[in-house]
Symmetry: C2
Subunit: 202 residues, 2 copies
Amino acid sequence: MSKGALTRRAILEHAFSLASQAGLEGLSIGRLARELELSKSGLFAHFQSKEALQLQVIEYAAENFTRHVALPTLRTERGEPRVRAVLENWLRWPDQSGAQGGCFFVAASVELDDRPGAPRDRLVELQREWIDFLARVAHGAVSAGHFRGDMDPEQFAYALYGTMLVTHQYRRLLGDPGAEQRARAALETLIRDAVAAPAAHP
Amino acid sequence: MSKGALTRRAILEHAFSLASQAGLEGLSIGRLARELELSKSGLFAHFQSKEALQLQVIEYAAENFTRHVALPTLRTERGEPRVRAVLENWLRWPDQSGAQGGCFFVAASVELDDRPGAPRDRLVELQREWIDFLARVAHGAVSAGHFRGDMDPEQFAYALYGTMLVTHQYRRLLGDPGAEQRARAALETLIRDAVAAPAAHP
């Protein structure tokens, strides 16, 4: 990496961590320059505007998530093992991401849902990609013969996403040490439902 | 209601709606005074500090939620009907609450999870009360003989809460018109799991 690329990387790492706590609107170029001991003009050379900075922080977050959650999941056996792996890798993300606050994507979603613009558009695109990924993992369990053929992978993705959102809430806001076990139990309910023949549940 | 009480009520209604969009930190006494055409000193007479205002907005939100979601739920038949009613009443809350943004509690949770203080403490207390309410509704379905005796009401509350969090995400961020149907389908999965004898799911 060139010195410029290293500096850019360091800025994004710090900005990502800050945004997980103070939100994307909390990312001022002045604050970043101060905390990283860089000149404001140096920061402007990397990010021409606050929106450009926000967009690149979103990309950084997406790459971080892909590296720590999506890729390790794809390296596991397709089917039910991969369904379990996605939850485990996702649960570990807060510790691995380098963020000091809660989940970057949860914070960004609440912040941007009312605010049209390029950052919101990109966030929506990334969320849809992730939901598609989850649905494909569930569909893979159908192909592997682990889930019944008429289960709904999109519904599974929705429910798994909900499990992670409430786990975030129990962990971050309520400080519940049992949140991860609840997440695993919730996944078992979803798996049982995806495995069982519908006739077994009148 | 006295004139003072009416004014106070109008301030809280407006502040609650604003906070659902701009967050509790977005609630400045100056902004509220301007938008409500009141004097800043008049506002200070009602709320001595920003924190006092935030705390009273949290109380307002809780009363609003109780009126529109919890109380109508308690007026339905105990057991499975009440479990379904809690979801339906909760799904309707955004339209009934008068908030212009997303869910007040989702926004406040993300905002306050990193910020110790009286508003966070009160929010945590309210969230725990709501989770207890959900668990009692599930337990009521056990008492009514609708759910099996060894189902876990706390786990049910957790999963139902997750369903609502992801529904909020699909509605607000993704603009998905099918979010409510997904929420209902997710609840049916939870109910099937709570009804079925564990032996039926090896």
